[in-house]
Symmetry: C2
Subunit: 347 residues, 2 copies
């Protein structure tokens, strides 16, 4: 393999000049730089990244920290980040920091302190106070996706707004007994569930339906939605006429449960989700669409801008979900809705 001495010799310059030309630090004329780069290319020379890092103080690497990768939202954001980093020639160091694990503790204690990145993207991290201290101590730009870290730019969905508009859609179809299924089961992602739940409550309250507010906790997963829906759909007297799910996987689970119980969607039960998950189309699910890949790409734009100009004011970008109408919602049968709503109020 060729070393920097070979490159210098071929370009007819000193090793020090070749090094300056390749690392981009220190003065070299444009003509000399072009000659050195051409020689490096011809020889297939790849600079030691450790040496380049020492010379430039840059790692050309972005850290990404998230609690999970084996869930739709996180995996999609990760792919969006990776694609955007590849375009810019930047590496990605991944830290999977599941809450409450020894691995998460070590990431905060040891790994982040090594600062092997020029900036950090934190996805749905929800750091605790002592973790926020550690993040602050790193002294590198941080951008959050979903939730903000310290001194950080943020890309986030208007979660409450998405749930509010989904609920308003059901109310406009004359539904009154509308249950919110999902979240609050001690799983990940708590702030998002709380925001979505708050949006549902707000829409219900604004329509004078405080008495009909009903939250059925479940894990934010297809099996979680299935189990919760079997419970609330089994009793025909207290059965809601519509469900808003904390996410599309919960909505899909609820639709599978309805089919198993012989309850027709949407004639006897309307279901609306949030996300536009890859399963949404298969279940003909009306949902509030977000595009996590684009959020990942946006976070990369923000972190590279902050690295280039550390004095730049951190931005907060709030995205609005877009309603995708499929066929899991329809107007309620007035007689049926009234009796179900009465039952829900215990009359």
């Amino acid at each position: 393999m060729s070393g920097i001495a070979d490159v210098a010799q071929r370009a007819g310059v000193s090793k020090a000049t070749a090094s300056r030309a390749l690392s981009g630090s220190g003065y070299v004329s444009e003509k000399t730089r072009a000659r050195v780069l051409a020689a490096a290319r011809e020889l297939g020379y790849v600079p030691s990244t450790s040496a380049v890092s020492l010379a430039t103080g840059r790692t050309n690497n972005i850290g990404v920290i998230m609690p999970y990768t084996n869930r739709w939202f996180f995996a999609e954001v990760l792919e969006g980040i990776q694609a955007a980093l590849l375009e810019r020639g930047l590496d990605l160091t991944l830290y999977i920091a599941e809450p409450g694990t020894e691995g998460r503790r070590r990431i905060f204690e040891d790994f982040l302190a090594r600062k092997r990145f020029d900036g950090l993207i934190a996805v749905g991290l929800e750091p605790e106070d002592h973790e926020i201290e550690k993040l602050t101590a790193i002294g590198r730009p941080i951008v959050g996706v979903v939730s903000a870290g310290p001194h950080a730019g943020v890309v986030a969905l208007d979660e409450a707004g998405a749930a509010r508009r989904a609920t308003e859609h059901l109310i406009a179809l004359d539904h009154r007994a509308i249950a919110f299924v999902g979240g609050g089961a001690g799983t990940h992602y708590v702030s998002v569930d709380l925001a979505r739940l708050a949006g549902y409550r707000q829409a219900m309250a604004e329509a004078g339906l405080e008495q009909s507010i009903r939250h059925v906790p479940s894990p934010d997963s297809l099996p979680g939605g299935y189990e919760a829906a079997v419970d609330i759909l089994a009793d025909s007297r207290s059965r809601p006429t519509a469900i808003i799910a904390s996410c599309d996987e919960v909505a899909a689970g609820a639709i599978i449960a309805s089919r198993r119980l012989g309850i027709h969607v949407p004639a006897a039960l309307s279901v609306v989700g949030i996300d536009d998950h890859e399963y949404a189309e298969m279940f003909s699910l009306t949902t509030m669409r977000q595009v996590p890949r684009d959020q990942g790409a946006r976070a990369v734009e923000m972190i590279t801008a902050q690295i280039a100009d550390p004095d730049r004011e951190p931005e907060k970008v709030t995205l609005q979900a877009r309603m995708v109408m499929r066929s899991s919602t329809s107007a309620v049968d007035p007689a049926r809705a009234a009796s179900a709503a009465d039952a829900a109020r215990g009359r």
Copy 2:
């Protein structure tokens, strides 16, 4: 922030000695090393990883390359790798190299050549010939999960064996009209599908059922399995009595399709999967269990052993799936099986 000069001063040694003690390269007495490490701890000193890398020639970083992260198998392997690396204090640089993309081309052309890792774990990569050349040129140990790279150790499931045993289970329950659903739809992961399909064909042939072999291609996803199953279950004359799915997501899709069509599982249709995906329990799915997290952990063991001893002979570890019996399979109704099998043969 404290630098190495502060550490050296506090420990009462020269900067060169402090550096040797901290990097682990070059001779330092145990007593001196302990004093330097204590001083570093007290001052909260974290060595520049670039400097350590230059001094030791090690990056303490493992590269992981995989075509996707937004699929169950890949995400689970990734979490297994990450957990095992965290235990060892090693970083993880991720390369998502989806086949046929510009991103993949750049990873092979530019990113891997930087050698920012001591070893590379390639998960389900299925490199083409020119990509294998690039991998070889890196000159770092490579371990494959699923498929082997050049000069690489491998951790792999006996895919054909898993499908063969699942098929034998159905044959033992007197099924004859057994369709293999999934794979062959131009999606990812081709070698695994081919191996699983081969295992199915082998079991059918050994039971004298060559005439009943039927492969229904579909994407390896829940919606893919759903669409394919709707097609083959709609015509009651040619309907199989049993389905073996290329993976559990396809099996779950087939079960959802059966419910929609009013075909009872397992009384009228047996379904068996491969994977033991997180959805398997919800669908009461009998399946062949693999544990991708453990495969990721095993790959880390192998790569660290190869980094420690480059002359070590690369290993090939083949894992056997374990059958998990739930309630999606049952003995066939003999009369129905005969007519369905006849129909399948076009009689």
